[in-house]
């Protein structure tokens, strides 16, 4: 990453933003939402849920499929795939239950996006991966155990 590029990009974003990717492309609704620091810093699942969704405990659902290795040799890179047949999915949230800060990621989907996401996460130790799906205004959750041989959070 070279500096000229960095400042070049910043220049685009600051000044010509409207043209390149400013207000026209990134609607206020998305960008205006502050990054929820308190949820990402919460140290247990219950706290994350409280900070992120404020309400309720999500309902356990067998309609959410979490695909992940049963044994992850390296906790620093755990491939996971989350999908659900639930209708009208608005978001999928991924948590690593025993991570120092469990909240990993929160994905919002537009109406035309499939309820499917694939990524790679870190797990500090053997733990459940929890997926929370918001569908049609209601919350559902599922988990899957992953055994970690080498933790992904140490130095």
């Amino acid at each position: 990453m070279t500096l000229p590029r960095r400042s070049f990009l910043k220049g685009i974003l600051a000044t010509g933003g409207a043209m390149a990717l400013g207000t026209s492309i990134l609607p206020e609704t998305v960008m205006a939402k502050e990054w929820p620091q308190n949820a990402f810093e919460a140290e247990n699942v219950k706290d994350v849920l409280l900070k992120l969704f404020k309400t309720v405990t999500p309902k356990e659902s067998n309609q959410i499929i979490i695909d992940a290795p049963d044994i992850a040799e390296n906790g620093a890179v755990v491939p996971i795939e989350v999908t659900t047949k639930l209708p009208k999915v608005e978001s999928i949230t991924i948590l690593g239950e025993k991570n120092p800060t469990p909240l990993v990621a929160h994905f919002n989907f537009a109406n035309n996006a499939d309820a499917w996401i694939k990524t790679r996460i870190k797990l500090g130790e053997t733990s459940n991966i929890i997926a929370i799906v918001k569908a049609d205004g209601r919350f559902y959750m599922a988990h899957r155990a992953v055994k970690v041989t080498i933790g992904g959070c140490g130095g």
Binding site: M1, A110, C153
Partner: protein, 111 residues
Amino acid sequence: MAKSTIRLQAKLKNNVTQVKALIKHPMEIGTRRDLKTGKLIPAHFIQEIICTHNGEVVMSAIWGNGIAKNPYLAFRFQGGVVGDKVILLWKDNLGQEDMREVKIKKSRRRR
């Protein structure tokens, strides 16, 4: 222009566009120590990801430090046409950002 931090592809098959992104980023969690100096390595991770199709947001995400280094991300959406513009943008906790634009291509692989 210097090389982008984002590798992006959007491929159409059976009316579904699958977007795959690979981003070069350290995703430092902020609690690791430098083995030589013993000093904490400051947190440095992507916080926001946005993907648009012809200017409309199809997927946006907020990330913490629990996404693996050099993040990989794949997702799908309906209604894309070959040649449509797909843009992916990321922004990290230090205010750095990058974007990449690709056109939807037809997938050569069969399902």
